[in-house]
Each structure stands twice: as structure tokens, then as C-alpha cells.
């Protein structure tokens, strides 16, 4: 659903067709500097002028990660908070550029990384859906063709024409999820969004994910809900401190991760969606 603006982006269809991967990550490292201060202000900069104080912290979010994923794979990505899962997903989406290595993504990508729908809460749900689609590079006609499906799935018919600032957080999540899954992506990137809405919607989104899995789409799910991961994914990657710690079938990886966390398998609270 998106094609990036990055200059390093190039379109070489014949190459990817030959080796048949959906995603190919080679020795990927992502390092970025982040200001130590909470809010970067001019005053802060002036105060530090002259004093040789280190004002940036270098964050090595992803370190030397390599993997290939063929089309039709559902990949679960697990790891503790701050392990680099979200940065990895953003790099796959072309939002954060790699510092080292190479990422090749073959197919139309749809993302649900930051509840992108509803970025302007003064606008109506409808406006936001259209804007999100246009930003992703879809045409107006393509968005219109999907619009009915999106509102129907999100069950927000009455709310689509009022500003999103009046939405509840569950409604936000439902709309964002609905947009991401209804764009018929080849590759779907979902970051901790399996648990939006009420119990019924949760069930519905889980079923929709199942459906997408069955359609041989490639899906990356970041989640702490290990039960859902075990059910949906046919491959799990465990990221720890930016490194790829383990990659295998769901059961062994989840088991190892669970032991690492020290959480018993029977611990429903810890392992299921919040």
C-alpha cells in the first residue's frame, strides 16, 4: 500500500521474482541518535553551548539482523519492551532508513504501526481514511472502492462523518485496524494492534487475520499476546537488544521466550492481550 520516498528505493521486479522472497533483510542495523532532553528546545541548546556535554544518546535499535521470509508466511515478532521490534517493523515499511545493511520488500505493503488513521482529529473519520490512503499512494478510486468495506468492518457507519476527536479510543483502533487489513496488501505489518475494541471486535479482527493468513498474504505481527502469536504465526522471530536471538517454528521460540521471561504457561494474565 505504500511506496517509499526514500532515494535508496528502487523498483526491480525481476530480481525479487527470481528468488521469490516477500522480505529479505541482510545484515540490517539501525542506529539513531536521540536527544537526552525530553523536549528539544532552543533554551536547552543555548544552555549547553560552550559546555561540552553529550546531548545525544545513541540508540542501536537493530543490530546485524538478517532473515528472509517467503510469500505467504505469517511471522510473529516477540521480545521485551524496547527490544527493537517496532524499529525493525518501521524499517521494513521504509519509514526509518537503515544505518547498515539492506532491506528488500516485494509487494504492496499495508501498515498498522502507529494508528496512522486519525492523525488529524479535527477531521472526520471519512476524511482521515481518504487522507491515509492518499498518503500511502493509493488513488482516490482505489480508496473509494474499499471505503464501504472499511466502514462496515469497523462498524462505525454513524460516526464516519463526525470529527475523530469525538471518537473513543476503541473506535480509533477499530478504524485503523479496518483500514490496514482491508487494503488487500501483499504484506501486512501490524504492531501490537490485535487487541483493539471490545471482546466481539477482538474476535472479529482475529478471524480477519486468520482469513488473511489463509489467503497466503505475508504478515508480520508484533505482539505480546503469545497465545495469538502461537495460533496465527507459522514462524516466530525473537528479538533481544536489537539482535535476532532465535528464529524457528512458534512453539520452540515461544517456549524459550516464556522461560526467559520466567512466566508460567498457565499464566493467562501475563500471556494474553491486555
Amino acid at each position: 500500500m505504500q511506496s517509499a520516498s526514500d532515494p535508496a528505493t528502487s523498483v526491480e521486479p525481476q530480481l525479487a521474482q527470481e528468488d521469490g522472497w516477500a522480505v529479505k533483510v541482510e545484515d540490517l542495523s539501525v542506529t539513531y541518535r536521540t536527544p537526552v532532553q525530553k523536549r528539544p528546545t532552543l533554551k536547552g541548546h543555548l544552555k549547553r553551548l560552550g559546555r561540552r556535554k553529550r546531548i545525544f544518546r545513541e540508540i542501536r535499535a537493530v543490530r546485524n539482523v538478517s532473515f528472509e521470509v517467503p510469500h505467504g508466511t505469517v511471522v510473529g515478532i516477540i521480545g521485551v519492551n524496547g527490544a527493537g521490534k517496532s524499529t525493525l517493523m518501521r524499517t521494513l515499511a521504509g519509514i526509518v532508513p537503515p544505518s547498515k545493511g539492506r532491506v528488500a520488500v516485494y509487494g504492496r505493503v499495508s501498515t498498522l504501526l502507529a494508528l496512522g488513521v486519525g492523525f488529524n482529529s479535527d477531521l472526520t473519520g471519512r476524511d482521515n481514511v481518504v487522507l491515509g490512503g492518499l498518503a500511502a499512494g493509493l488513488s482516490r478510486a482505489q480508496i473509494e472502492a474499499k471505503y464501504e468495506e472499511i466502514t462496515e468492518f469497523a462498524e462505525l457507519d454513524d460516526f464516519m462523518d463526525i470529527p475523530m476527536r469525538r471518537y473513543s479510543s476503541g473506535m480509533y483502533g477499530r478504524l485503523a485496524f479496518s483500514v490496514a487489513v482491508n487494503m488487500e496488501p501483499d504484506i501486512l505489518l501490524i504492531d501490537e494492534a490485535l487487541s483493539v475494541g471490545d471482546a466481539r471486535f477482538k474476535r472479529k479482527s482475529f478471524d480477519k487475520m486468520r482469513e488473511l493468513c489463509d489467503q497466503a498474504r505475508t504478515i508480520f505481527i508484533v505482539s505480546h499476546a503469545l497465545k495469538s502469536i502461537r495460533e496465527l504465526a507459522n514462524e516466530v522471530i525473537w528479538i533481544h537488544h536489537g539482535r535476532l536471538k532465535m528464529r524457528d517454528e512458534p512453539d520452540p521460540v515461544i517456549e524459550a521466550y516464556r522461560q526467559f521471561l520466567g512466566v508460567a504457561e498457565s499464566d493467562e494474565v501475563a500471556l494474553e492481550d491486555p
Binding site: T9, R90, P98, R102, A104, Y106, L131
Partner: protein, 290 residues
Amino acid sequence: MSAVAERRDTRQDEFASELHVYEPHRVGLPHLAPYLKELWRRRQFAFELARGNLRAQNYNTALGQLWLVLNPLFLGLVYFMLVTIVRGGSRGPEFLAHLMLGVFAFRLVSGAIRPGSKSVVSGGRLILNTAFPRALLPLASVLTSIMRFLPTLIVYAAVHAYAGLPVTPQILWGIPILALIACFALGATMLVATAQVYFRDTRNFLPFFLRIWIFACPILYYADEVPERLTWVLYVNPLFPMLASLNEAVNLGQTPSPALLAGSLAWAVAALAVGGFLFISREREFAVRL
């Protein structure tokens, strides 16, 4: 062999699949040709966002879109009253026309910069979710400002007629001059939007800066009334050649002087180059800075 056939297939498909390769980028500008191509491909986004901003602004007001005309009209009248009082009532309707044109043209710039300063910072959710040329965000702010400017032309036309100012073909010079002002506004907006990402208090300085700027422009006075020792203020003001040539063309119906036109062009190009360079060379970093 089969790869070639596949490739042809995907080309025919409207929803064509694509391969994206992401690699470390060099410092500085990305390749401009693909960047501008992507920008152009998503131009509808900028238009839609601009229209949405406009709709949202007056969503809750009783008079709705009528404010697009009322607001500049009242503002112009307030300034006119101020000047009339300060001057002891010595200003006529032709000065009102001069003032209105100046205020509206200035608002074309300030109305882009002010909301544009937070265009990147407040677009955080979209930036973190979708890859697209970020320059679309400040561009949308400028488009919003242009859309807000157009209705003010009606107000100006009425004042122009009331003041009995001439209507000549030279008025059409106003179009390229306004285009230069819009280009300048885009450059300035990209500059401020970038600054806001790194210095979050840029926005707090802006209202004061813009207030001083409007007083430094020949809007509340004629350019030739500026005392000799202060004329340098006009020459360091990017909006001076633009407003002065606009005044010559539209208020007076004359061909604007080439020096003023050259000055306007130079400032517009410089603003676009500096603002565009800063913004586009930095935009790949925005996602980790928000």
C-alpha cells in the same frame, strides 16, 4: 526468462506489485527526480489535507465558511482604524485599498507559516505509520493558505472599486507576483517546520516574529514614507519587493519596476532553495525525532 514475463504482467496490473529496496542513505539531499515523482504522485493528498484543514477550521462556527471573507475584512478595518487614529484621520479610501492588499498578501505568508510550523510535528502518527515524501505536509499548509487567500480577493475588489482606483491590464502582473509570494511562503514554511522538529519552542517565537514582520512591511504605511535612516529595514525584508511590486501592479495599475520584480524572484528562489534543502535533507530523520 519467466522473470521477464512476470514483469510484464505486473506492469499491466493497476495494483502493480513493487519491490522496495531500502539501504543506508548518504547525507544531504536524496535523488530529487524520484523524490519529486513520488511527491507529484501524491499531490491529491496535499490538496485533500488542505481542504480538510479549511473545513475543520470553521466546523463549529455559526457563519461557517463566511468567516473566510469576514475575518480578513474585519482585520483590514481594524488596522485601518488604527492608522486613521494615529494619523489624525488623514488617510483616504485609496490607502484602505493599499492596506487591505498588503494585509491579505501578508496573511498568505503568515497563514502558511503559522500552521505549517507544526505540520510535521502534529503529523506524527501519519509519519510513523506511512512512508511518503514529508514535504507534502508543509505543502498542504501553503495550499490551505492559498485557499483562504482567494476569497479575500472579493473583499479587495470591492475596496478597489470603492476607492475608484484604475482597472488596467497591468493588474494581471499581480498573478505572477502572488505566485512568487506563495513560493516564498512554501520555502519559509519548510524552514520553520524543520526548525520546529529540532527546537520545539520555535512555535512560541512565531507570533511575535510575525507581528514585528508585518510592521516592517510597507503595509500600514507607504514605502516612500520610511525615513532615510530606516530604509535598510525594507531592503532586508524579503516581503518588501513582493509587496511593493504588488502595490504598483494592483493598486496603481502600473507595470511593476524590474528591480522590484527581480528582488521578488531572488527572494522566492532563495527561500525555496534553503527551506527545501533543509527540509528534504532532514526529513528521513523525522520519524525518530517525533
